[in-house]
Symmetry: D2
Subunit: 294 residues, 4 copies
């Protein structure tokens, strides 16, 4: 058989499925709406009407879905993937969801002899298109080894973090770090502006020292340019922070500044910026500083 099923052809999933095809894999796709399936079919993918139908003809199934309930529905729901997968098959979820859900899915599939990996990514749309995603993987060593050729067609920085759920934990750590760093950079650049100093020079100076970060480099520039075209949307980062905060609560790890940034993102969304790039924390920062940011 040796086919790969790919369910969820959104902004991330579509280019990822395309990269699998380019790498020579036989791919069967499924998506809630048809047009995305048709675009992939034009690139050589087979299509299937339901998740179960995908699972019936593939020994590896990948999902790339919005949130935990979507994964639960597609995998464990009626007509779901779990129903059709067979012993020895491999399930890989690359969505960003709760670690608890990832562990539950893995446990349910294990009862059927199906191996499961949680393998959330970072790198955004650009990383998905260029196959330069970072992939954080949770699951057994054997399943990881088996999936590695697939991951290599999708990304570059591929790390086996630990057992089931560990990939999602790492992703939560990633989203926390990014969110808090974004806010720190926003506070710094807005301070420079309000104090009458050229924030571009401040960014340049900071990039030469301990304050240097990818976010200062990329999103710092966005903040200077007031370029809030996503990129990674506020509402999606907020969703991921919600998962991270719940994980922190579950495991007893207080997240003092992360929770504050989550509330600032709620403010951004309430103020109409849900679809903006997450660098829009500077947009909010300028508002709070009495500036219009236009």
């Amino acid at each position: 058989m040796n086919k790969i099923g790919f369910i969820g052809l959104g902004i991330m999933g579509a280019p990822m499925a395309e990269n699998l095809i380019k790498a020579g894999f036989a791919v069967v796709v499924n998506n809630r709406s048809r047009p995305a399936m048709e675009r992939l079919a034009a690139h050589g993918a087979a299509t299937a009407i339901t998740p179960a139908e995908v699972a019936a003809v593939c020994d590896t199934v990948i999902t790339m879905l919005p949130d935990s309930p979507d994964v639960e529905a597609v995998v464990l729901g009626e007509g779901g993937v779990a129903w059709a997968m067979r012993p020895g098959h491999l399930y890989i979820d690359m969505s960003t969801i709760a670690a608890a859900t990832a562990r539950k899915v893995a446990a349910t599939l294990a009862e059927k002899g199906v191996e499961a990996l949680d393998a959330p990514v970072s790198g955004g749309e650009v990383g998905a298109i260029n196959a330069t995603l970072s992939i954080m993987v949770g699951g057994t060593e054997a399943a990881f080894a088996r999936a590695l050729p697939i991951f290599r067609a999708l990304g570059q920085n591929i790390i086996h973090i630990g057992p089931a759920g560990a990939g999602q934990i790492a992703k939560s750590c990633n989203q926390i770090t990014c969110a808090v760093t974004l806010q720190g950079v926003a506070e710094a650049l807005v301070l420079a502006e309000k104090a009458g100093v050229d924030p571009a020079k401040v960014r340049q100076a900071l990039l030469g020292g301990l304050a240097a970060s990818r976010i200062l480099e990329l999103h710092g520039q966005r903040m200077l340019d007031r370029n809030y075209k996503p990129g990674f949307k506020v509402k999606l980062h907020r969703k991921d922070l919600g998962i991270a905060l719940n994980t922190g609560r579950e495991f007893g790890a207080p997240l003092m500044t992360s929770s504050l940034v989550a509330e600032l993102m709620d403010a951004l969304m309430a103020m109409g910026q849900a679809e903006a790039d997450h660098s829009a924390l500077a947009w909010l920062g300028r508002r709070l500083a009495g500036q219009a940011d236009q």
Copy 2:
């Protein structure tokens, strides 16, 4: 004349003065306590008993002092530098102090025909020893050009940010960004630990993506190693945050997460970690997560 006066031979100032001597400058040093002066004398420096005496024999005077009141006292106080400097001379303060104080000092010296630069640094003791400091400079273009040969003997990333005080504003931005990023990294790594995931693998995964930062690299490793030997002490970073928060208040730039990290540093200090490296925010994070961190 063409001598450089250097006042303040602490952990930063002593190696900086030594680097000026190595670069071929004639240096006259002054320090509150004698032993530091004697060590520099052994490297070829002349010594002077008071700041004013330094200023009497040098056409350029550098200060590297703990805080705003120290600079005010040494420059504007009785027997201070301002008293002895003459028209056409150059004063460079490389301490981290309030921008308001930097502007006041510059204005007072300007009345005497003395040019002034505020030129705080980042890069810590290692940067001071290796002459790899970042230097953020506020003052006139002319004064900056005149000081550049001196700065090149001390650091590498030398940026003229803007007029008097602008160097200190940039330094505040730097200290904010570092503090908030440190806390973000600490929250992420403690979350990984408490969730039963190897934080070293999480750090490695995050370094490959958007979460990458010098602080994740350097201080992230320190946090994993529980290596809180400074480095940059909590109490000094807290002092700098105090300056930044006052600057934010003065200019109407709210600093939501920065102020929270300042309070967390107050907690660290109250809990006996004032002399620890600022990566000890992870020490506090582990305590708040119910772990002993030893």
Copy 3:
């Protein structure tokens, strides 16, 4: 028929059911474990094995359960209350749960012609025992009027807030206000202590002015006495804050300080104080101030 079913005989539910009996109502009780049922039987209650069995013999059913999933299970689950309730019956949930769940339950029951109220309480175990609870009610005016005689047997400050879910929204507002006020009082009293001033005199002074609150009066005294015997447990207040934060996120109302206090409560729980009274925020405050609080 005219019997009242009461499901959930915990610390709050048991005395509430007892007060209904004392007021002359015929009460049928159900609880997950038997001993609590037997204690109520000794006071004159009938008992039922399942929630559905309660609903089969009562025209009014009250639930007092720990959290949203419990209410969903007991009402909408297999063998649940909804299955057995008949048109014209009245369902009252007095648990503190998500407003979204309250609305969902109300909508489901409405399809069966059953009226529903969400009627969470405040006032704690003492209020439950003394029938002095505050009751915040969501639902129709007619259902509220019908339930009023029951509420009067349980509490004193009974307010019809609005339509289905409104009672839970009010309860979230209550738990936010209490949590933030508690933390404000804790910060003030710990500051007084660390500054070497008698916190009892500070509390007394503050009670005479704008800072006066029930929490300063009651919990302020607890904080001074280091009396953290519950009262209202940290873990329960944290659960309620979790509901409130989700509600804020759902409706786009950022909760800046509430979220911070939620994280502080997570710290308290991680540090072993989950079962302490919520005034233990001062315990954490003293720790963060470097004091042992014993």
Copy 4:
């Protein structure tokens, strides 16, 4: 002699001086601008051109000034009160200033045999006019006893907190508690509004339980009415919070939520609400929730 000097005839000071006259004291007033002095002269006060002149003819001198530097200047500066006061005289500062400044003033005056009290007030303009201020007093028992008849002409809740500076510490505790409670109430009421629930009913319900506070009663109503006419101005409360935060830092008492509210007040001021009543925290809360609040 037995005259009372009163320096500082602002919104608070003017009615306080008037109340002393009404109570039968002989009062000599001084103020930076003349019109306020003339108004008091019309009520029977004598006037003096400088603080020192006040001190020369009075055995008790009261100051009511904006901030620490004002008190330092008026008492310790050239032509200041300290210069003219004589052994056995009494100095009472009723301003809200740093405890450190209060202790410094007391120590300096003690060297001249002059007793000093720090006696900040709460209760606002209404309390000043109606002589119902709360007065928190630091200093010796003897000085407190001596000043009591004066305090009784000005307020009602008069408490001797402890030694020099203790009054100011208590005032900081008061301002912290009020600020944090205000923000908690604002978050609750904005949540109710955004969730479609009548915030007036929520306030009414909360007043009946543990969430009850003077601030929920008075400022909660203001928030509902969008009545931000001061009252107590945001910029003044922010000034007092600045003092409290510095005190917390000095004594090692982290102020997690207080510092956050201080930043929110900075946002309010940057957004043009510096002169609004401090209940305008709800104005900011509504903005952050995407509402215009007009």
